[in-house]
Symmetry: C2
Subunit: 140 residues, 2 copies
DNA sequence: TATTGTTATACTCTATAACTATA
DNA sequence: TATAGTTATAGAGTATAACAATA
């Protein structure tokens, strides 16, 4: 028996490959961390999402999320608005430049990952995403 | 288009699930980080492996690896030996307690991941490991 | 000259605790 | 009392640069 049978290990190893692709194609040129892109994209997909929900989705604490939102806010990529429904809460929204960035980056990522994983068949790539989503859905 | 189509994102999300499983089953009880287990297991699988090769395999710098090896060495889980072939190099080996730990942890991980992923079919689990390994093999 | 491994150092990211404001 | 979000702080993990020893 070996490390090759440990799913957690294989996920990390595969993540090294996709992470390097992200850094080369997006991270360096846009000075953007993976988590920063993910936050922006999640706001794009779920308008009015709150910092707390975002933190839970990405398995981090709210103080950490505050720090990331501060950085992205200073770069004018997103805005914090007071929630109307709950005076304690916030509602997050992309600025125009945030929207432009997210659309560009997503396109670049889809294309570069397609090249990166070109040695996999289409069926394998579909299967992979499907299985990974099943695993993620384990999260409470 | 959405984040769901980004392999890097799905790998991270699935990694949150397996990472939480590791922490609960192994990390907390044995006070062991995932990278620490991986280092020990790689030494077990590849006796006489060197710190530099280990660092490359795990995509980290040699000073980082030195720090991890220091910690594991202080816990008497591994030993550093001078390489006979190359006076600059080292050869890593598990101590007896390192060997016992690694064998126990690997067993616990295989069993707990099997439960964690029980909602996947056997075919899906095999396919997943196979595809992840294909992606990892992209690494130079 | 190049490589192995270590030390020194500073930076990034993180979590915990204590706090404010609202529910 | 509980929850949303912030601030303060300390710790973990990291990378870069400079170094010693060997090739």
């Amino acid at each position: 028996m070996s490390l090759n049978r440990i799913t957690g290990y294989q996920l990390v190893q595969a993540g090294i490959v996709t992470g390097a692709n992200f850094m080369r194609e997006v991270g360096k040129p846009h000075k953007l961390r993976p988590v920063e892109f993910t936050i922006l994209q999640l706001i794009f997909e779920t308008p009015h999402i709150s910092p707390t929900v975002l933190a839970k989705t990405l398995a981090m604490t709210t103080p950490s999320m505050t720090a990331w939102l501060d950085k992205l806010s200073k770069r004018k990529l997103l805005m914090r608005e007071k929630s109307i429904k709950d005076g304690r809460g916030q509602t997050l929204a992309l600025t125009n430049s945030g929207l432009v960035l997210v659309e560009d980056v997503l396109k670049v990522l889809l294309e570069s990952e397609a090249k990166l994983l070109a040695h996999l068949s289409l069926g394998e790539r579909e299967m992979l995403l499907e299985i990974l989503q099943k695993i993620s859905s384990t999260k409470s």
